[in-house]
């Protein structure tokens, strides 16, 4: 099993809640899609093509000062559990981790370079997916980190670029800048006041899209939404980020207004709801993942509204990561049955919450 503590910052420095608006926005992630000239894109590539791409990328990474501390992990040499661990830490996409494939085998030469805050997925849908994840609502910080890696790698490897279409990507929906920025945001106020539908509909009208906790194709759980730009071409990187930033700021404002409304009109109910959630998490002996996410959402709201004090957002963030199935299996050091997993999750939650007094 891989030792996640050896990864730079465990790959999850963003959990520390040090960024702006951490009680509403968990993290900001940006990725840039890039391909190397002279090699077919992943879907058309043979194992030899992919191996050649990986060799070129790892040679370039070795020369790249920005990736000096990066650790390269070959997904085709990892067990399913290890790949799932990396996916649960948002370091590797579901596609690259091959979690949906049966039998679950990672494609040859698929790999990830892990560094903090910026790393690279290799041989995903595109040859390179440069990615940076930072704490809170910090688009500029994430982009700055990514841009320097992009600039340096772009001088070590020839990227596929066209004067009209920009950076060329396997799927035309990513062409141009190749930039997708996502903000992971917690919106229980809008969900409870039933305003969320309108907000999400509004997002799609201004060219943004929303997804669940794990990005593309994932469901919304625990009132966590990933808001991101839909288009990547025809606007400069700065414009795309400004636009997303402006809209996210508005959504944060709406969420804060919704929380005010909740406190004004149903203070007693909200107080009871968040403490019930805390009580269940603090003492339950068996918890499903979905239930945990929903209860954590309640407790997070309670912390945001100062109804629950003495509990840090950092602990709540850690709980999101450590209560996932592969993390529990890694903790117990063996595969778990459903019942064992629920029991292990409840015990993990009790331990982490018990360490903080409220």
């Amino acid at each position: 099993m891989i030792d996640l503590s050896l990864l730079p910052d465990g790959g999850v420095a963003w959990l520390d809640a040090s960024g702006p608006n951490p009680h509403i926005v968990l993290s900001t992630r940006i990725r840039l899609a890039r391909n190397v000239v002279g090699h077919p894109f992943s879907l058309r590539a043979t194992d030899a093509d992919r191996a050649a791409v990986l060799a070129r990328v790892s040679d370039a990474a070795a020369e790249c000062g920005e990736l000096r501390g990066a650790q390269l992990l070959r997904l085709d040499e990892l067990t399913r559990l290890d790949r799932q661990l990396l996916h649960e830490r948002h370091l590797v996409s579901k596609e690259l981790a091959a979690l949906d494939r049966e039998p679950s085998e990672a494609r040859k030469a698929s790999a990830v370079l892990i560094d903090s805050p910026a790393g690279v997925m290799v041989n995903e849908e595109d040859h390179l997916r440069l990615q940076a994840m930072v704490s809170g609502f910090a688009l500029e910080d994430a982009y700055t980190a990514l841009e320097s890696v992009d600039t340096e790698l772009g001088q070590l490897l020839p990227f596929a670029f066209h004067p009209e279409f920009g950076y060329l990507t396997s799927c035309p929906t990513n062409a141009g800048t190749g930039l997708r920025a996502s903000v992971l945001i917690h919106l229980p106020g809008l969900v409870l006041t039933k305003e969320i539908g309108k907000v999400l509909q509004g997002l799609t009208q201004v060219g943004l899209t929303f997804r669940g906790l794990y990005g593309e194709g994932s469901e919304v759980v625990g009132n966590f939404f990933q808001l991101s730009n839909q288009t990547t071409l025809g606007k400069a990187e700065g414009e795309l980020l400004d636009h997303l930033g402006r809209i996210v700021r508005q959504v944060i404002e709406y969420e804060e207004q919704a929380r005010d409304v909740l406190l004004k009109t149903a203070a007693g109910t909200v107080d009871d709801k968040v403490w019930r959630a805390y009580g269940l998490l603090r003492y339950a002996r068996s918890l499903s993942f979905e239930e945990t996410m929903n209860l954590l959402s309640g407790v997070r709201l309670g912390v945001g509204l100062n109804l629950i004090t003495g509990l840090s957002v950092y602990t709540l963030n850690k709980l999101l990561i450590h209560t996932q199935p592969a993390h529990l299996a890694a903790l117990e050091g063996r595969p778990l049955s459903d019942t064992e997993e629920r029991a292990s999750r409840a015990s993990c939650v009790r331990r982490l919450l018990g360490a903080e007094t409220t």
């Binding site: 000239v37 849908e125 772009g154 596929a160 009209e164 062409a175 288009t231 990547t232 071409l233 400069a236």
Partner: protein
């Protein structure tokens, strides 16, 4: 002005679609407008890629049957792209350029990259001139399309100097 769809008949209808916050105007002849209808317009908006791919089948008037159009570098055909939604390699963008340009406009509201301009390692000067030339040619094409002949003449002169 020619119809954007069949490229044969004169355009009589301007169809303006607001996709996200970008305005896309299509100039259509009566027949193509009828064929597309409002229904086509909205369904295209809902699932831009899928619907457009199936619409390409109907609208293609190129002499080469579009399906068999093949990328000389990787061997992928336009049919492969329609089936998978993924291109075979970077050269596919050149090989299927006309088809992709329309698709990119529908997906993103534009096919012109305005973000960072990439210069490959070691070829900065040369790439700069080449990319400038391609830029100018594209501007020329658009100037002619919009019947701005004064600008077109200016651009043509600039292109000659660079060539």
């Amino acid at each position: 002005m020619r119809c954007d769809n069949c490229k044969e008949r004169d355009a009589v209808i301007n169809l303006t679609q607001v996709e996200h916050d970008t305005k896309v105007t299509l100039h259509l002849c009566e027949q193509c407008a009828q064929e597309k209808g409002i229904e086509t317009g909205t369904t295209v908006l809902k699932t831009p890629l899928g619907k457009f791919l199936s619409a390409m089948e109907k609208s293609t008037t190129l002499p080469v049957p579009a399906d068999t159009l093949r990328c000389p570098a990787c061997g992928a055909t336009l049919r492969d792209f329609r089936d998978t939604g993924r291109l075979g390699c970077a050269d596919c963008y050149q090989a299927f350029g006309d088809h992709l340009r329309d698709l990119l406009r529908r997906l993103h509201g534009s096919s012109q990259h305005v973000g960072e301009r990439y210069l490959p390692p070691g070829a900065a000067g040369e790439a700069n001139a080449a990319s400038q030339l391609l830029d100018l040619r594209d501007q020329l094409r658009r100037a002619v399309e919009s019947e701005n002949f004064e600008l077109a003449a200016e651009l043509r002169d600039q292109i000659r100097v660079l060539e």
